[in-house]
């Protein structure tokens, strides 16, 4: 249907401009969370690199470690999905290619985040009796 309205009028009225800021804010809030979580993860990575399977399992049995690891996965997969979306929108002009990549990016983000968090919870919540201490 034809709506007679200038681009400026559309932008001032009810255009997409009111919603675009959601991406901007989410990108920044996840960035701030990731500053702390990534520094924590890098520090943890040093001890994990020195340890074996049992020590990694024991590490995730700490509720604090498991909780922060889940938050890290959530924030990281969200943040990277937002960033990759911007890259796809910048470099792919063809609607079909762009749309397909944007959907793929969303799927990768949610699938990766979900799988990672489920793995963390599986290890964290498993009974400790089976683990060789």
């Amino acid at each position: 249907m034809a709506v007679v309205r200038s681009p400026l009028g559309r932008a001032r009225g009810m255009g997409s401009s009111k919603h675009g800021v959601g991406h901007f804010i989410a990108q920044r809030v996840t960035a701030i969370a990731l500053v702390l979580l990534v520094l924590w993860a890098l520090a943890a990575g040093i001890s994990l690199a020195h340890g074996d399977y049992d020590s990694a399992v024991a590490w995730l049995h700490s509720p604090l470690n498991a909780g922060l690891a889940c938050l890290l996965a959530f924030a990281a997969f969200w943040h990277m999905q937002l960033g990759m979306r911007t890259i796809i929108e910048d470099y792919f002009a063809k609607a079909g290619t762009k749309g397909a990549l944007l959907v793929l990016n969303v799927f990768v983000g949610w699938l990766g985040g979900a799988l990672t968090i489920i793995c963390i919870l599986k290890v964290a919540l498993a009974a400790t009796t089976g683990v060789n201490t």
Binding site: R28, V35, L42, H50, A56, A73, M80, V108, V123
Partner: protein
């Protein structure tokens, strides 16, 4: 219009196609911006590798051992060191971006200096991180 007539000054061209003697030059702030995007894309793959680590841990000792063995090989080390560099760079340059979002650090001199600072921090932090991993007591 391909060949210039002798005696005439060369026609002005856009900055991006002035190959030499033009007003265009490479700026460290541009490199810092490109590195930010490149390191972000690298960390996209890094997150998927972290997911593979979590999957191997959930799958059991054999899978975790296979992942650790691969990570300990030369190719694994190269990838992990590269990802550490990308992480420290994206982290520190991300903080630089947050300062910009708050309205600070836009003076050309400040932006140039902070670009160099971020690159320096990324390299030093990566070297220190791997020095700790490789040269402190392995369990």
């Amino acid at each position: 219009m391909a060949d210039a007539t002798p005696g005439l000054r060369p026609r002005p061209v856009s900055p991006n196609i002035q190959l030499d003697g033009g007003i265009w030059r490479w700026h460290i702030t541009m490199a810092a911006s490109i590195f930010h995007r490149a390191s972000g894309m690298a960390l996209y793959l890094g997150a998927l590798l972290a997911m593979a680590w979590a999957l191997s841990l959930a799958a059991g000792p054999d899978a975790y051992g296979a992942f650790s063995e691969l990570a300990g090989r030369l190719i694994g080390r190269i990838v992990l060191i590269g990802l550490t560099l990308a992480a420290f760079y994206h982290l520190s340059n991300g903080i630089r971006h947050l300062f910009w979002d708050a309205g600070y650090g836009f003076k050309p001199r400040t932006a140039t200096n902070s670009a160099w600072l971020v690159i320096l921090i990324a390299i030093v932090a990566t070297a220190a991180f791997w020095a700790v991993i490789l040269f402190t007591g392995a369990a």
